[in-house]
C-alpha cells in the first residue's frame, strides 16, 4: 500500500526510468527479431540524439514542443479532466501568433514578439473555451468535444491556408513570411551574442519559455490558492462545493490555462522555426503530450524528463532509421509505442515494487 508523498525524484525520476528500461528491453527484442543488433541500435539512437551538438539541438527542439503539450494535459488532469485537444489548441496557437505577426508587422520587435507569444496562448485558450464551457455547465464530455475540436481546427487551418491567408502567388498552403521582429532567435544566434559558436539547429528561444512554463505550472498547482482549488475539484468535487469552490468555474479556468499552454507549442514551430504559418505543423505533438503527461505523473519535473525522452526517441529514431535500412520509420513508431505502453498505460506496474524497495532501504513508507 501507500503512505506519504514520495520524494519527487522517486515518483517522477526512478519509476519512469525503470518503465523506460523495460520498454527498451521489449523494443530490443523486436529489433533482435528482425535480425539487427539491439545494443548497436540503442547506441546509434543515443549517439544520434545526444552525441553531437547537432543531434542534441534537434532533440531539445522536439522536447520543447512536448513540454508545452505535456504541461497542457497535466493542468487539465489536476482538475480531473482529460484534455485530448492539445493538437487543435496548438494549431490555433499558431493561427493566433500568425494573425498578430501578419496584422501588426509595423510594431517594433520588443512589442511585437511578446504580442505574438500572447496571441499563441490566447488562441489556444480560446479554442478550448467552448469544450470547457460545455463540460462545466452542460456536462458534455470534454474528451469527445476536444477530439471534435481537433478536427475543426485542422479543417479551419487548411481552409485559411489555401484561401484567405495564403501567400499571394504561392503554390504551398502557407502564409507569407513574418517580419523578423515577429520570430524567435535560434539558439545558435543567441549563443553568438555571447561569443559562443554552436551548430545551427531548429532549437530556439522557446525552449527557455518551455522551462519557464514548467516552473509556472509547478508554482500554480502546488503553491497557489488557484492550484489548490484546481486539485480539490479534481480530487473531490463534493468537497469543493462544500468549501465554496465552484467546480464549473475552476474547470473552465483550468482548461483555459491548459489550452493556453498547448497554444504556446506554436511558439516553437511557428515563431521559432518556420517564421510563417504552415499546415499540420503540430505533427502529433498534441498527442505525444498525453503520453508525456502520463509518464511524468502530472508533475512538471517529470514532464520535462518525459518530454526529453520523447525528444530522444524522435531524433534518435530518425538517425536510426537513416543508418539501418532494416529499421524503418515504422519500427521507430513501434518503439515509441512501447514507451507509451510501459511508461504511460502501465505506469503503475512497477511502482509498488519500487516503493517497497525504497521503504526497505530507507525505512520510510511512500506512495509512488
Amino acid at each position: 500500500m501507500s503512505a506519504r508523498t514520495a520524494p519527487v525524484w522517486l515518483t517522477a525520476g526512478v519509476v519512469p526510468l525503470v518503465n523506460v528500461a523495460v520498454a527498451f528491453l521489449a523494443a530490443g527484442l523486436v529489433v533482435a527479431l528482425i535480425g539487427e543488433n539491439p545494443v548497436e541500435a540503442l547506441q546509434i539512437m543515443l549517439r544520434g540524439a545526444l552525441g553531437s551538438q547537432y543531434g542534441l539541438g534537434y532533440t531539445l527542439y522536439y522536447t520543447t514542443s512536448f513540454i508545452f503539450t505535456g504541461l497542457a494535459v497535466a493542468v487539465a488532469f489536476h482538475a480531473g479532466h482529460f484534455n485530448i485537444g492539445g493538437e487543435g489548441q496548438a494549431l490555433m496557437g499558431g493561427l493566433g501568433a500568425a494573425l498578430v505577426a501578419l496584422s501588426l508587422p509595423f510594431l517594433p520587435w520588443p512589442l511585437l514578439l511578446p504580442l505574438c507569444v500572447l496571441g499563441a496562448a490566447a488562441a489556444g485558450a480560446a479554442w478550448v473555451f467552448i469544450p470547457a464551457y460545455l463540460q462545466a455547465c452542460r456536462g458534455s464530455h470534454i474528451v469527445i468535444t476536444t477530439i471534435m475540436f481537433n478536427f475543426l481546427a485542422a479543417t479551419l487551418l487548411v481552409y485559411l491556408l489555401v484561401g484567405p491567408m495564403k501567400m499571394a502567388g504561392s503554390m504551398a498552403p502557407e502564409t507569407a513570411k513574418f517580419v523578423p521582429g515577429a520570430t524567435l532567435p535560434l539558439m545558435n544566434q543567441m549563443a553568438a551574442w555571447f561569443g559562443l559558436t554552436i551548430t545551427r539547429t531548429p532549437l530556439n528561444l522557446s525552449f527557455i519559455f518551455a522551462i519557464l512554463a514548467a516552473i509556472f505550472v509547478w508554482v500554480l498547482i502546488w503553491r497557489t490558492r488557484l492550484g489548490y482549488a484546481i486539485r480539490t475539484v479534481g480530487a473531490n468535487p463534493d468537497a469543493a462545493v462544500y468549501a465554496g469552490i465552484s467546480p464549473a468555474r475552476i474547470t473552465v479556468i483550468a482548461l483555459l490555462i491548459s489550452g493556453g499552454l498547448a497554444g504556446l507549442m506554436a511558439t516553437n514551430e511557428i515563431l521559432g522555426v518556420q517564421g510563417r504559418l504552415i499546415n499540420e505543423f503540430t505533427a502529433g505533438a498534441g498527442f505525444v503530450g498525453i503520453a508525456v503527461a502520463l509518464m511524468g505523473r502530472g508533475h512538471p519535473f517529470g514532464i520535462v524528463l518525459a518530454a526529453l525522452l520523447f525528444g530522444v526517441l524522435y531524433q534518435g529514431g530518425a538517425e536510426l532509421a537513416f543508418d539501418k535500412p532494416k529499421i524503418t520509420r515504422e519500427m521507430i513508431i513501434v518503439i515509441q509505442g512501447f514507451v507509451i505502453l510501459f511508461a504511460g498505460a502501465l505506469e503503475m506496474m512497477f511502482a509498488d515494487r519500487i516503493a517497497a524497495l525504497y521503504a526497505r532501504l530507507t525505512g520510510k513508507l511512500v506512495a509512488v
Binding site: 506519504r4 508523498t5 503553491r223 492550484g227 468537497a239 462544500y242
Partner: protein
C-alpha cells in the same frame, strides 16, 4: 472444545514509522460475538484488514477454524468464509442495491439469473432481519444509514461464516442498533462468528461475549463481557479514567442567531426532502436535531450552509435574510461567521488524496494568513495544521501524511479542528463523533459546550440519540422531512423520542424557544 474460529498470533505491521500492530494475538471462539475496542489509531482496523487480506502482516500467523490459513487478499478471506462490513463504505455509487450485492456473484455472462437469485436472497434476509432496503434504489441516492444496511446485507448474502463489522453502528439509530444486535445474536446462535469493532462501550456490554482491548498497536487484554463494565473498559483503552457523562451547566440563550422559517427543499427529482421546517437557534444554546438518518437532516444542514438552494422558506442569520445557495454560497457564509462540519467527512469534509495540512484548509484556502495574494505559503499551512493537530490530539501529528491514511477518528478530529478553531458565530455540526473514541468524544463534547458557553449558536445533527440528548439544550425531532416535535432533554425519554422519530406526533406541549 472446537478449534477457535479465528486465531491470529504475533501479528506485526508497520506503516513506515507507524507501528500499527505490535505482535498482536487474538483468539475468537466459534459462535460468539467478540468485541474489539481501542482508541483512534490503536490499530483495530489494521488488524481486521490483515484478517481480511487487505494488508499483508509483516509477521505473524492466522488460523481459521484451527487450520493455518494464508490470507493474501480478500478473495482468500471470502474463500475462508470471512465477510467484512467496512468502516468506510465500499459500494459502487452508480449501481443499484441488487447490483452492488451481486458483485462477485454475477452468475455467468448474462446477469439476469444472478440478479434474480440475489434479489430473492436479499428479500429473504431483509424480511428475516427487518432491514428495510429497496433493492432497486441507486446507492448514490441512499442515506448513510441505508448504505450501512446494504453493506451488512452484502456480506450476509455471500454467506460468510465469520463476519467482521468495523463500526457498524456508527450511523444507526437506537432501534436499528437493537435490530442489528438481535440479528447478530441470532447469527451467533447459528454458529457464526462475529467480530465487532466499535467505540460504543454500551453496545459492547449489550451484544458481545468477550472483548479485546487494543492500545497504541498492542493488545492489552481480552475479558469476559459479563465480568466488566464500561468504566473498566474505558480505563483499559485509554489508560486513565474517562468521564463518560457530559457535564454541562444551564444554557444562557441570548439573541436569535439562526432563524429558519418554512424552509422547504426538493431534491434533483423534485421530491420534497425538507418540509416547512421552522425553528430558531439562539446565541449560547445548542439545538439538537434527532432523527433516523435520511429524514431531511442532511438537506437542512446543507441548505443552511449554502450548498443547496431551498425551494421555499427563508433563512436569516443575525437578523439578515440569507440567499442560501445563491449569493450566499459557502464562502460568503463563512465570511459571515457560519461554520459547517459536514456529516460525511469522506464525501465532503476532506480530500482523501491530499496531505492532512491541505485537507485542514479546505474552505479556508483563501484566508490571508495562508499566504500573500494568489500564493499559498506551504510553511504557514503546515504550521497551522500542526497547531490544530496538537489542539485536537490528532495522531500521528504529521501534517504531511495523506488524509486517507489517518484512522477514521483522527480524520474526524482534523475536520472538527478546522471548523471549531475558527471561532464561528454559528456552528452547524453533523455527526460530530461518528467513529471517534471515547477519550476524544469527551474532548469534542467539551469543546462544543465550551463554544456554547462562549455565546455561540450551535445546531447539532446526530443520529446518536444519547449524544443529542446529552449535548442539546433543546431537541427537535425530524421525520420524513418534517419537524415532528420539540423537547427539552430533561423532559423526554427514549420512548417519547422514538415515537417522534417514527413520525407519531404527540400532544405534549411545545417548549417555548
Amino acid at each position: 472444545m472446537p478449534a477457535p474460529a479465528i486465531q491470529m498470533t504475533g501479528i506485526d505491521k508497520r506503516f513506515g514509522a507507524v507501528h500499527a500492530n505490535k505482535a498482536v494475538s487474538l483468539t475468537v471462539e466459534k459462535g460468539t460475538v467478540h468485541g474489539l475496542i481501542g482508541e483512534n489509531g490503536a490499530g483495530k482496523s489494521t488488524l481486521m484488514s490483515i484478517l481480511y487480506g487487505f494488508y499483508a502482516a509483516d509477521s505473524g500467523t492466522i488460523a481459521i477454524n484451527g487450520k493455518p490459513s494464508l490470507i493474501r487478499n480478500p478473495a482468500d478471506a471470502i474463500h475462508s468464509g470471512i465477510g467484512m462490513v467496512h468502516q468506510h463504505f465500499m459500494l459502487v455509487e452508480t449501481f443499484t442495491v441488487v447490483e452492488n450485492v451481486m458483485l462477485g456473484a454475477e452468475g455467468g455472462v448474462f446477469t439476469a439469473k444472478g440478479a434474480a437469485a440475489v434479489r430473492a436472497k436479499l428479500q429473504a434476509l431483509s424480511y428475516a432481519y427487518g432491514m428495510d432496503v429497496n433493492p432497486d434504489a441507486v446507492v448514490s441516492e441512499l442515506a448513510v444509514g441505508e448504505l450501512q444496511r446494504v453493506e451488512i446485507l452484502k456480506a450476509l448474502v455471500k454467506g460468510a461464516d465469520i463476519l467482521i463489522l468495523d463500526e457498524p453502528t456508527a450511523v444507526l439509530t437506537p432501534s436499528e442498533v437493537e435490530k442489528l444486535f438481535v440479528l447478530l445474536r441470532r447469527l451467533a446462535g447459528e454458529g457464526k462468528t462475529i467480530i465487532i469493532v466499535t467505540h460504543k462501550l454500551k453496545e459492547i456490554i449489550t451484544v458481545t461475549d468477550r472483548v479485546s482491548v487494543m492500545r497504541r498497536g498492542e493488545m492489552v487484554g481480552t475479558v469476559e463481557t459479563s465480568n466488566t463494565s464500561p468504566a473498566d473498559l474505558a480505563e483499559l483503552m485509554v489508560g486513565r479514567r474517562v468521564v463518560l457523562t457530559v457535564e454541562k451547566g444551564p444554557a444562557n440563550p441570548q439573541a436569535v442567531v439562526l432563524d429558519v422559517k418554512d424552509l422547504t427543499v426538493r431534491d434533483a427529482r423534485g421530491t420534497i426532502r425538507l418540509d416547512h421546517a421552522t425553528f430558531q437557534v439562539r446565541a449560547g444554546e445548542i439545538v439538537g436535531i434527532a432523527g433516523v438518518s435520511g429524514n431531511g437532516q442532511s438537506e437542512l444542514l446543507e441548505t443552511i450552509a449554502g450548498i443547496r438552494k431551498p425551494a421555499g422558506g427563508t433563512v436569516s442569520l443575525n437578523g439578515a435574510l440569507l440567499d442560501c445557495g445563491g449569493s450566499d454560497d459557502p464562502t460568503a457564509l463563512r465570511a459571515k461567521g457560519l461554520r459547517h462540519v459536514p456529516e460525511d467527512r469522506h464525501r465532503m469534509g476532506l480530500v482523501k488524496p491530499f496531505e492532512a495540512a491541505e485537507s485542514a484548509i479546505l474552505g479556508c484556502s483563501d484566508e490571508p494568513g495562508f499566504g500573500a495574494g494568489p500564493f499559498l505559503d506551504r510553511d504557514a499551512v503546515l504550521a497551522d495544521c500542526v497547531r490544530k493537530m496538537e489542539a485536537f490530539d490528532v495522531r500521528p501529528a504529521d501534517p504531511t501524511l495523506r488524509t486517507a491514511l489517518f484512522s477514521g477518528g483522527n480524520q474526524q478530529k482534523i475536520v472538527l479542528a478546522r471548523e471549531i478553531e475558527r471561532d464561528p458565530k454559528l456552528l452547524l455540526i453533523g455527526q460530530p463523533t461518528r467513529g471517534v473514541d471515547i477519550g476524544a468524544i469527551e474532548f469534542i463534547h467539551k469543546r462544543i459546550i465550551g463554544l456554547r458557553d462562549a455565546g455561540k449558536a450551535v445546531l447539532l445533527v446526530s443520529t446518536e440519540l444519547d449524544e443529542v440528548l446529552a449535548l442539546s439544550d433543546r431537541v427537535l425531532v425530524m421525520c420524513g422531512g418534517k419537524i415532528t416535535g420539540e423537547r427539552r432533554p430533561e423532559d423526554t425519554n427514549e420512548q417519547d423520542m422514538g415515537l417522534l422519530m417514527a413520525g407519531v406526533s404527540s400532544d405534549a406541549p411545545k417548549v417555548a424557544a
